[in-house]
Symmetry: C2
Subunit: 514 residues, 2 copies
């Protein structure tokens, strides 16, 4: 189904009143980025072919292990792979053949249709940090995350114009039992935001809960025909998929929902210490994992994901914002385009413990290549600190500011007559200034990106205002945004049904720690 | 003269002993970057042609003012321009015709031939911050710069492997009289470093002093035939060159020395509030200024410079690291390549008052496009703070770390058999790790860029080591580098001649404040 047709059919999903409530816009939001500038690439066609041939060699000679999932192994056998226990070897070309069924791009619907995003092609969708068990802010320092923190980050993402997606595990609400927290998380995304969101992957039953909640919002028929959830499926690199991830993958793929299949690689530990070696391995892993979605349901939406960084060869600790992961990111994006599937990577990654200069250098050195390389879906676009162990309130606000800049950069250069501004140059002439000229007056309000975080004042004024660093200014900003937060409109019946479902499911199970 | 021939002839510049002394290497240094990755570009050929046509319109209809310099105006008249007082209008095509004589690239020689750099083509040369009257460090805060600070920054640049150039006014030594400080600055570059350096431009006489000092080092004959100094000539945008800058430009161009002709533009004040308008104006200004070097001496080495950022339309304050200057930088680099001259722009620019997250975001958002866009000569590559008012010790060290990363990024992906690492993947197989495999053992020492500034340790270890932020770590690093500094070898006679020249010239003049 084309994007246009699904978009038109989307209207059938609920009653008129519900739809109207869903569409009420309370804050300024930006649409997903449509890149108007050329791509930054690092490998020639010859280099890409070499990597692709090596990935085929890995799949054919070494193979991938699909552990403790006989169903997936059987699917592979039926598809023509050579099976040896959990080890599956793919004849050259088989993976590419299977992936021909995958869509080049797909629409993920939000309950507010204005927030619906296209994933793939020339678009870039930003989603928040995913996974940290800790949070940090300037007032209370570093501590375990709670459901209140989770809700706060959902609210901050909702309040961020250039954040196109509500994400998934924006932090782990460790004050809720492991077997129940997915219910609170999905419900929070639905009730506190109207942006698209991600599903639980820690157990197939939790994936089923995610789908059940989505059906309450979008209606059964709509969910059956459209993607309303995308979920993160990590490989256990090198060359292993485990039963938990495969279980979630199958649940979502069968339901026609999106999977982001991501090798999680710290080069030097989970892959070779070289960029070209890492690329071949991650391509093999991503292709094999994505294929499973197509074996389960041909045409199911799937994203080629990579999370690839390096380790310090001295300490084994992960490092970020260094040149080797940038090369991996840019080349992997090229490989995904040649494969004809959407691509996920990048974000605002860092190893820093504080929202300091290290955090910012490393994040910018990841985020800018993310945009220039044409990444389609960007997890960890804001808030990531300490190698992903911490969701930082201050860093979320600082990163969010950078996302707004990426949105402007991607739009490229306005070559209209107004953009060319020749009359302004004629009017002003040599030695004068442009501050008061007609063209400046007409354009100044939208002329330049306005940072919410940066202080551009004189030293004297900055000092008079307390001499604050960026993190201190960000501290005030996130507090203001949470104070200003108003929940987006939602049909009262839908909200009640979501809350009832969560309460019922929680009551059905005793608390468990896994 | 080709680069190869000048390189061979370089040997004739001094006695064997002097040459040997000049070549003694005391610290690890990296050669100028040779970019192996494709360029990041933002405008199509059609867009570039539009900007070029608009620049010709500006030159032909509005013209450029060359103020208080009848000699330059006469040169223009002789070249076929239409002259009206200081205003010079260039018939379409004239500037490009004159610039056809300019070299596509040129060699700037250092007194240590290993530090000699090629400026233009696929190379990128990093030079330190230029111009700040203040310095800042964590211990003493913000204060006026002194000659001691100047010497310290020259030493830090010398100690930085990825800093290819010693730069010019790394800070203003305000404790030395304005009319004499250029002597101390040039002498410091010669005596405390062996990297290429920049000359004084504040008065034609000071440019002549720079050349006289260079002749003491390189020999008269060598300086007559080779570029041993490049100097920064700013336009007074919009569309004005003043007598001071033109005086220095003529002195250097006549001597066959390099000029970096740079419109200094804060868009919104010195140019239109649009990217396309700013591009047309800066192209017109740069072409007109560069032409003067060719009218004085056809073939003189010249660089198309731009310093282009924006202002806050609320306060008028300059802003950095925002998307509009990035677009200007990338497109201007394309324009310079079409013109066939080397290009200067970028650096590690920021408006931040402290070496904090704002400083780092803004600097990285400038530096990465600088590399990806193919900038050939990069002033302000390290140390810049507070819109260029401050040279920061801590930021110098943090930026220098980023320069090392750019050097690795520019080298691209190693596609050799060792780079492909297929045997390592075969050896390790599914579910194991790469830490101990033969390929990792063979490659780990050079595998990944090692940051000197970043802390990648666990939270617990970082906390046990004092919980320092990046600036605090950088503070310890610059102190250690200054403590470890050893002056590069120099022929004793040359050093004495340089010191004598400085002493004699200082004695000839009373102190003056201009």
């Amino acid at each position: 189904m084309s994007e246009e047709r699904t978009a038109r059919r989307r209207g059938r999903g609920g009653s008129g009143a519900r739809r109207e409530a869903r569409q009420r816009t309370t804050i300024h939001q930006l649409p997903a980025i449509i890149r108007r500038i050329p791509l930054t690439e690092v490998l020639s066609a010859e280099g890409l072919e070499l990597i692709e041939a090596n990935a085929e060699t890995i799949l054919a000679e070494i193979g991938i292990e699909f552990r403790e999932d006989p169903e997936v192994v059987a699917l592979w056998r039926d598809a023509g792979a050579e099976v040896d226990g959990a080890r599956v070897r793919l004849p050259r070309g088989l993976a590419r053949h299977i992936l021909a069924a995958a869509p080049r791009r797909f629409t993920q619907h939000a309950r507010n249709t204005e927030r619906t995003v296209l994933i793939g092609g020339d678009t870039t969708v930003f989603a928040p940090v995913y996974g940290p068990p800790f949070v940090r802010d300037l007032d209370r320092g570093r501590r375990y995350a709670t459901l209140e923190d989770f809700e706060n980050f959902v609210k901050l993402a909702y309040m961020t114009p250039a954040m196109h997606h509500s994400g998934g595990t924006v932090c782990e609400p460790v004050d809720v039992a492991v077997n129940k927290r997915h219910l609170d998380m999905v419900a929070s995304h639905i009730l506190l935001s109207d942006k698209p969101f991600m599903g639980s992957v820690t157990h197939p039953e939790r994936a089923a809960d995610t789908l059940a909640l989505a059906r309450l919002v979008f209606g059964d028929d709509f969910v059956a025909e459209n993607c309303v959830v995308v979920s993160l499926i990590n490989a256990n690199s090198p060359m292993v998929y485990d039963a938990t991830m495969l279980g979630a993958l199958k649940t979502y793929a069968r339901a026609g929902q999106g999977c982001v299949v991501s090798p999680f690689i710290l080069a030097g530990a989970m892959s070779p210490v070289t960029v070209a070696g890492t690329l071949a391995q991650l391509l093999a892993e991503a292709m094999a994992g994505m294929c499973v979605t197509q074996l389960v349901r041909p045409g199911a939406p799937v994203v080629f994901g990579t999370f690839a960084s390096s380790i310090s060869m001295q300490s084994g600790a992960p490092t970020f914002g260094t040149p080797e992961p940038t090369l991996v990111l840019l080349a992997a994006a090229q490989l995904a385009r040649r494969l004809g599937v959407p691509f996920r990577s990048g974000g605002s990654l860092c190893a820093a413990k504080l929202p300091d200069a290290q955090a910012a250098y490393e994040s910018a050195q990841t985020l800018l290549p993310t945009l220039l390389g044409g990444v389609n879906f960007v997890l960890h676009a804001a808030g990531w600190l300490e190698g992903g162990l911490v969701s930082s309130y201050e860093k979320f606000v600082m990163d969010a500011d950078q996302l707004g800049m990426m949105q402007v950069l991607a739009a490229g250069i306005d070559l209209s007559e107004n953009g060319q501004a020749l009359d302004a140059i004629r009017e002003v002439g040599p030695g004068a200034h442009f501050l008061g000229c007609a063209h400046t007056q007409d354009n100044f309000q939208t002329a330049f990106y306005r940072s919410a975080v940066a202080d551009n004042n004189s030293f004297e004024q900055w000092e008079a205002e307390g001499g604050k660093d960026a993190a201190e200014r960000a501290n005030a900003l996130w507090k203001k945004r949470l104070a200003d937060y108003e929940a987006p409109a939602i049909d009262a019946g839908v909200a009640e049904a979501v809350r009832d479902y969560v309460a019922r499911r929680k009551a059905e199970m005793p608390d468990a720690a896994v």
